[in-house]
Symmetry: C2
Subunit: 199 residues, 2 copies
């Protein structure tokens, strides 16, 4: 939160909108605190259960601020209410897609709670994200090896969970992960439904 506010002040920006792409289970969002500090709008996808949202977006809808265009992509799988956002450079900068936790670099987000579903994840990735132009840069919300960006071309070819895999094979991979629950899930999910401000 202080990192965001510090950069907003230093770069002399005005925060107009902030987006939570899904309800996080492993950390508490700063969305409510950012709204209180900056009076920004709070955006979520249309299927969120969060109560503190000032603008809902739906599949295909474009959100524009000052020459930046973000197109909402409904990408369930990690959760049943996850949205990705496509940055449309309109020829002035490169296109990019923010994939949230659905598609990660050489990986994908777990599919075993909060309405997660491996078949929905496969469909979101293969039939939606992988149909974007191959040179589109893909920014995930997490990476555990220090990477920050990949491309659709790279992930189509080298994502070991997806390259050459059928939906059934992907579902089997995801089912066999046997991950423990995030430590904070009991606190984070209810808090994040209130934009991080009360559990």
């Amino acid at each position: 939160m202080s990192v965001y506010l510090g950069l907003i002040e230093q770069l002399d920006l005005k925060l107009i909108r902030a987006i939570d792409m899904h309800t996080h289970a492993d950390h508490v969002t700063a969305l409510g605190d950012l709204r209180d500090a900056t009076d920004c709008a709070t955006l979520r996808g249309e299927f969120t259960r969060a109560e503190c949202v000032s603008q809902h977006v739906r599949e295909g809808e474009t959100v524009a601020v000052d020459g930046v265009w973000l197109k909402a992509l409904y990408t369930p799988g990690h959760t049943n209410e996850s949205f990705g956002f496509m940055l449309d450079g309109r020829g002035e900068c490169e296109d990019a897609v923010f994939t949230s936790d659905v598609l990660l670099i050489r990986g994908s987000g777990r599919t075993d709670f909060q309405g997660g579903d491996p078949y929905a994840s496969y469909d979101s990735i293969v039939n939606k994200l992988f149909t974007l132009r191959e040179e589109t840069r893909a920014y995930p919300a997490h990476d555990y090896k220090g990477c920050t960006v990949s491309t659709i071309w790279e992930e189509r070819r080298f994502n070991p969970r997806l390259a050459g895999k059928s939906a059934e094979q992907y579902a089997e991979i995801m089912r066999s992960l046997n991950l423990p629950d995030p430590k904070m899930i009991g606190v984070a999910v209810p808090a994040n439904l209130a934009c991080g401000q009360r559990a």
Copy 2:
């Protein structure tokens, strides 16, 4: 090392040259292993004491590979043999500078061993790196908060060790850091003088 080789293979690249920008004190370089695996040239600045170097570069020299131009900048201070490299986009992509450990994001590399000197660091940063075009992206070799890139404009204005500070004030800040020696320094420095392969 396996991360680099994995990407080289996946992206169908041929590694022509690899550069160590200074002799690291906190980790062991993969330069020798990369050379053995790929037959790449090993580059270092002209003042290195490392013995396994196939090409030395000096201040102002440009190294070119396949439409990528890197200009060597002698930037002592963190060590007395550190070089930075300026990526010259020639109008086809944005210019960038790789600052090694001399200039970090809102910080700078320590100046208390391996010929480090706070006045040399100040001179390298203020009189060399900060004279680059303000929109130049600056990529440091480390960041401890997850950032990967800044700009010369941002660091001139917001680097707390440098913005508005004289050389004397900067030297006092650096002297007062009182950092412990890196745990690996006794192993890493001799190993890195041999491109990481023997201590």
